[in-house]
């Protein structure tokens, strides 16, 4: 059995590495995306002030005046504790409780310093006094935040199209039919495809990770081993998605449509490019059904927050269970012709 799996594994790898256009594309695309984002989001942007505000039942004039300040985005929030972490990570520049007139800023944040001055100016003629509180934290740039998602997204494209398209093409060309005439079983064939795609995805994305880190020096607070585990499980889950899509169809056009149907919602609903905070609850629930959401979230928690495996266990559980279910479905409905 393992001899047959090894033979299929070697054949698929050989095919992949000799198909130079496919190889180049699978490496170049994520590099181009990351450089594009690095360029776009490291430019100075004058409208980056964000203030979270806990609105008072009867806001005073000074508060209203402060809220009229231009170039500041005011976000209404309910609690203090959950937003302190966002100040730590520079996701917001200042937190202001209009009831108590306490405010929190990050002492290392230039934006926080400026917004504080504007707040104090707004209350200069008021009898009400402000109370300053400091929080500490390192800056999280957008590139730090987006890199885990971009790598996860690259894994998704590689897994879905890399395995889905290949199997459909094999079926259309009659390669699967020829294999069916040998002692190779469907489980052996699928196992070889999973292993082949898995290691290719891991190697390509590790190289991209190292290369991007060299140029962009993005944040990595957690364990590399934990991150590798998350990416491995994510790869397997997304490869199994590709297997399900490719299990029966023999038309590349249909495969293309179905793979896009899977991949595009994942790309926009999985929090790769922007947070879904504030989005419609139904959309948020839908996002939680997508493997890419869990892969992105777990990678982000490890890389930015330094989370360990126990903290991302819920995401790992979803990815693991989804992999098993999708693999069983894929193997069950798989057709050689």
């Amino acid at each position: 059995m393992w001899n047959r799996i090894y033979a299929l594994f070697v054949a698929r790898n050989t095919e992949f590495f000799r198909d130079r256009s496919a190889l180049a594309w699978s490496v170049l695309l994520p590099v181009l995306i990351m450089f594009g984002f690095a360029y776009a989001f490291t430019e100075d942007n004058p409208e980056k002030f964000k203030v979270a505000i806990i609105t008072a039942a009867q806001p005073g004039t000074a508060t209203e005046q402060f809220k009229m300040t231009r170039y500041i985005k005011f976000i209404e929030v309910d609690g203090i504790e959950e937003n302190l972490a966002k100040i730590e990570r520079h996701q917001i520049d200042l937190l202001f409780d209009a009831n108590t007139r306490k405010y929190w800023i990050n002492q290392t944040s230039p934006n926080g310093y400026i917004v504080e001055k504007l707040l104090i100016a707004a209350f200069a003629d008021s009898a009400q006094t402000l109370q300053q509180n400091m929080v500490e934290g390192d800056e999280v740039r957008y590139i730090d935040w987006v890199i885990p998602g971009v790598i996860a997204m690259n894994i998704m494209w590689g897994a879905l199209f890399g395995i889905g398209y290949v199997i459909v093409r094999y079926r259309k060309m009659g390669v699967l039919k020829r294999l069916h005439a040998t002692p190779v079983t469907s489980v052996e064939f699928l196992t070889a495809q999973i292993f082949s795609r898995l290691w290719l995805l891991l190697v390509v994305n590790i190289l991209i990770f190292i290369g991007m880190d060299y140029f962009l020096e993005f944040r990595m607070d957690g364990s590399y081993f934990d991150l590798l585990l998350v990416f491995t499980l994510g790869c397997i889950c997304l490869i199994c998605c590709g297997l399900v899509v490719a299990a029966r169809i023999s038309s590349e056009e249909v495969a293309n449509g179905l793979l896009n149907l899977f991949s595009w919602p994942m790309m926009f609903l999985s929090g790769v490019w922007f947070s879904l905070e504030g989005a419609h609850p139904l959309m948020q629930k839908l996002a939680m059904l997508l493997p890419l959401t869990h892969l992105t979230a777990a990678a982000r928690e490890i890389m930015i927050d330094g989370a360990g495996l126990t903290q991302v266990a819920d995401h790992l559980l979803v990815l693991g269970l989804s992999s098993v279910v999708l693999l069983l479905i894929g193997a069950k409905i798989f057709r050689w012709e």
Binding site: R4, L8, G174, V175, K177, P183
Partner: protein, 294 residues
């Protein structure tokens, strides 16, 4: 000779179409069995049922008295009609890959030599000519030293030289004791290679025997062939019940002397006259009323 493959009351339906309808036959070990039929006759479906690629709706297929199973998979060599090869892989790599699928395999270097694959051994499979590809596919089908070899229209699309070259190799395989099941469009191929043939039409076997026995059973006449320009159509049809095709009048007769005498009496020039025995193509036309290559 012992029976290696036994097919009984085989039925395969695709929706309302009955592609294989109550087909039964036996193949003896070490022989070459030909399955002939026009396009859509059901021969590829039949051979794919026998290969275990498709599942029958009814009937049974026994290999050495047992249902098709793991042993059959290990001992069967298969060459499909239109097999695509994996891309970006060389001829040697294809052979090595397939050799890893089986517990018992042929010596790859020997296969390379036997099937003249050496000159393009390290070439990408996409760059092979039709004849080279067929030779590789045949070598792949023989990689597991099969006891039974399925060849589904192995020479379709090949030039005459490549076709005869492949026939020679099939003869060698048979001489080594391998049982062969062959489907073909070419009557000459069937006649040259097969010990026994079955003619299929509309999913049924309509004739089954050794080629010469089938011809003897169905024909006691010969064909007198005259160029169409030498015998006007009206005269040929009224006097000899001749049929006209490919620029020739075909007169069927059991008494050649009498026919020639009559032609001379009618002052038909005999310079381009040919007399030939009836062949499998005639038999096929008689049985099915179809041109094989239509």
């Amino acid at each position: 000779m012992p029976i290696i493959l036994q097919v009984s009351k085989l039925v395969k339906r695709f929706g309302k179409l009955i592609a294989v309808n109550d087909v039964s036959f036996e193949i003896q070990r070490g022989t070459c069995f030909g399955l002939l039929g026009p396009n859509g006759a059901g021969k590829t479906t039949t051979i794919e049922l026998m290969e275990g690629i498709k599942t029958a709706d009814a009937g049974s297929i026994l290999y050495n008295g047992e249902p098709l199973g793991h042993q059959f998979r290990n001992e069967a060599g298969i060459m499909f009609q239109n097999t695509a090869l994996q891309e970006f892989v060389t001829v040697r790599e294809m052979l090595v890959q397939y050799s890893r699928f089986y517990p018992r395999t042929a010596d790859i270097d020997k296969l390379v030599e036997q099937y003249s694959l050496g000159e393009f051994l390290n070439q990408d499979t996409r760059k092979l000519s039709g004849g080279q590809k067929q030779r590789l596919l045949l070598a792949m089908a023989l990689i597991n030293l099969p006891k039974i070899l399925f060849l589904d229209e192995p020479t379709t699309g090949l030039d005459p030289q490549s076709r005869r070259n492949l026939w020679e190799r099939v003869r060698q395989v048979k001489a080594e004791g391998t049982t062969i099941l062959l489907t073909t469009h070419y009557m000459e191929e069937a006649y040259e290679l097969c010990d026994e043939i079955a003619i299929m039409d509309h999913g049924r076997i309509i004739a089954h025997d050794a080629p010469d026995a089938l011809l003897a059973k169905h024909f006691d006449d010969v064909v007198v062939q005259i160029n169409e320009e030498d015998i006007p159509r009206r005269l040929g049809e009224s006097e000899f019940d001749a049929t006209y095709r490919n620029g020739n009048a075909h007169i069927l007769t059991a008494d050649v002397n009498k026919t020639v005498e009559r032609l001379l009496a009618l002052e038909v020039p005999l310079n381009r006259l040919r007399i030939r025995a009836r062949d499998l193509e005639d038999l096929f036309l008689e049985l099915t009323g179809k041109e094989l290559r239509a």
